[in-house]
Symmetry: C2
Subunit: 171 residues, 2 copies
């Protein structure tokens, strides 16, 4: 992750002509703060879902499926929506199927598609967990910013998200 200036002797031999654009101290501290918050927040929100026997990725799947028409999605679309590889998603869905949260089914009349459905138990679980989760998100993130900071960060992050979505779409 580190991107600061290394010793002068460390200049990459493969880039003799083009100087490496190392981050300045101000850029570096922001980059590290972003990485740390992203990682630690993920960890903390995951910890606070543990009493519900849910991993943070499981919760995300419940949310995405609950918002989909008929509370189901084609596995390939679900992988795209949750930014996971198909194989990793498949493992996760297997675990969640065992827990009774989702059901994998072929769609009649659509031979290409294997769908993940949210079960009634999955829906009920999400309803039960959501209030605790939003309290966690507030306590460890949202409520720690002023309204001005929230808006400024949104303005800064939204174009970056769009840029990255575009790259992902072309992948």
């Amino acid at each position: 992750m580190d991107t600061h200036t290394p010793d002068a002797a460390d200049v990459s031999p493969s880039e003799p002509e083009e100087e490496t654009p190392w981050l300045s101290a101000r850029e570096q501290r922001m980059w590290r703060a972003h990485l740390e918050v992203a990682k630690l927040l993920d960890y903390q929100l995951g910890r606070e879902l543990q009493p519900h026997s849910l991993a943070i990725n499981d919760y995300e799947i419940l949310v995405v499926l609950s918002e989909a028409p008929e509370r189901r999605m084609r596995m390939t679309d679900l992988a795209t929506a949750t930014l996971q590889s198909k194989s990793r998603l498949s493992h996760q869905i297997t675990r969640m199927e065992t827990a009774g949260l989702v059901l994998r089914q072929e769609c009649p009349g659509d031979r290409r598609g294997l769908y993940a459905h949210l079960t009634e138990h999955g829906w009920a679980t999400m309803q039960k967990v959501a209030p605790d989760h939003v309290r966690s998100v507030r306590a460890h993130f949202i409520d720690r910013f002023t309204p001005e900071q929230l808006d400024a960060m949104y303005e800064a992050l939204a174009p970056v998200a769009e840029h990255l979505r575009g790259l992902r779409g072309r992948a």
Copy 2:
């Protein structure tokens, strides 16, 4: 991940007296932008490390070890530094050992400690990869903010990182 107001009928039955503090639309859009950037950036930086046959977590290990005294760390400290569980780190270090990037050794005179050492090959790999990685970080993140945005985001994020580090330390 979703934390917006659900249908009125969705009020959690387990919290009949305390209203759930759902996120407002402004809070919600910032929360989603943060999640998306964190996840997509991780994905994109990982993709751009692939030509070097490194996962993003591998690169992080190389950086942390390269900054440690004698380029080595006790496995437990490395797990803390990289915010990973010991078992997950152990799997990762096994893979990296196979690739010749690190070496696991007991420390003479310290029977408690198993250490991960950066090998010469690991050090050389980091030196070779770092210039490309910093270009990726700039292209997809840092250079997309104005200096004012960088400073404002650092000011906003740093106290959150500190809060989360404190929670993690107590875990």
